[in-house]
Symmetry: C2
Subunit: 230 residues, 2 copies
Amino acid sequence: MLDLAILGLLQEREFHGYEIRKRLRDELGLFANISFGSLYPALSRLEASGAVIGSELVGSARRPTEPVPATGSLGGELAVLRARRDGSPRGTKRARKVYRITEEGRRQFEELLVADEPAGTDDARSFGLRLAFARHLAPQARLGLLERRRAQLTGRLAADRARAKAGVTFDSYTRSLVEHSTETTEHDISWLDRLIESERQVQQQPVPRPDHHQAPRTSGDEHTVKGTVP
Amino acid sequence: MLDLAILGLLQEREFHGYEIRKRLRDELGLFANISFGSLYPALSRLEASGAVIGSELVGSARRPTEPVPATGSLGGELAVLRARRDGSPRGTKRARKVYRITEEGRRQFEELLVADEPAGTDDARSFGLRLAFARHLAPQARLGLLERRRAQLTGRLAADRARAKAGVTFDSYTRSLVEHSTETTEHDISWLDRLIESERQVQQQPVPRPDHHQAPRTSGDEHTVKGTVP
DNA sequence: GTCATCATGTAAGCCGTTACATGATTGC
DNA sequence: GCAATCATGTAACGGCTTACATGATGAC
């Protein structure tokens, strides 16, 4: 799941580890607080697998265009390590390693988006993460994502209802719990239905039965999100 | 969390491992499908810590009263191991190890119910589990449980709203996700509020301002669930 | 006679966590 | 000068998973 999140973020632009954590924490809110102890190793793994390329930079947040002037006789790597000691006056932060995604990474990303997570993962969180990156998916894959989630939820709803019926022996707390779970699942499903419907509306340009009013112009693509394949 | 679930179940009556899994799966639905690979070790741990006592039984599901007649010269443990080979005609299943909770186990249970889970655990699931066993808690502790959960949720709601405000750059999918999350959290909170209110109503017998109509009889305990301490 | 369910366990692995180690930059 | 934040990493451990090993009982 972490790999998916990282690749999804990097799809947008380059990031270094610390930034990734921040983004995940206060923008998506899906990983409450991903730890560095799992983030950095994940980045290394992704780099080893060719999904991302990391380059160490002496980054100036204020003047990111300046191309790291090598001071004197220092080799590239040493220059990075000693960046703090060179003469650069201000704006220089500690050497950061920025990662950008590769073609292989994009491939892995799409693979991860359709693969089902190992059992034991939080379904809701996993789906939320995928949805947050759904714009990078082809319209069909996107619909598939929504529909698989819907099927999952209707399954849960059935289980909840069976439980409510079978559990006549439940105490009031457990009964309330099951009821609330049922309601929440119903709410989730109707939300999904709205998403699915609006998704279908955007996608129904291709093969519309020869219609009279509101003729579809050209092969209609103005709603499709950039970067997706037809 | 597993320990809590096990102890909670055993509070009700004796169980053997296989039964515990079943109960957790299709009654509570909180652990979709707890695996034996984690269940049996957990039981061993609990036994080692004195929280439960396990006794191997050659159980007859149909005639549970029959007191395991030792056949001839076999020692107790061997009798269990060879139970399938002895002359018992029918109704005998494979040797099962049934566990019952001890006083120490009840102590640990109460401790676990108030302790906060290690980070990374699914809050909702954890709370659901606790609520399912809330009847075993003292009224005050129960209220505390509900209120701590409420605080947790209002925190999340604030975060969700901040996210909705800050995330003007979100695409429609992410926006919808954040919106839905906000709604769900609101729904959860109002559910909790109802629970809290009804909890207070049941508990407000002790120190009611000298009231006129509907005088509280004796020290009023008819709503309090059996097994809880005042 | 063979398949589903009952029943218990061990071993290896995954994916996350906290704790530890190290150091620069910025603001008060 | 000191604390907060930025920045990257390693090591140990926790809790759950699957896969493996083993076997009885009951239904068709």
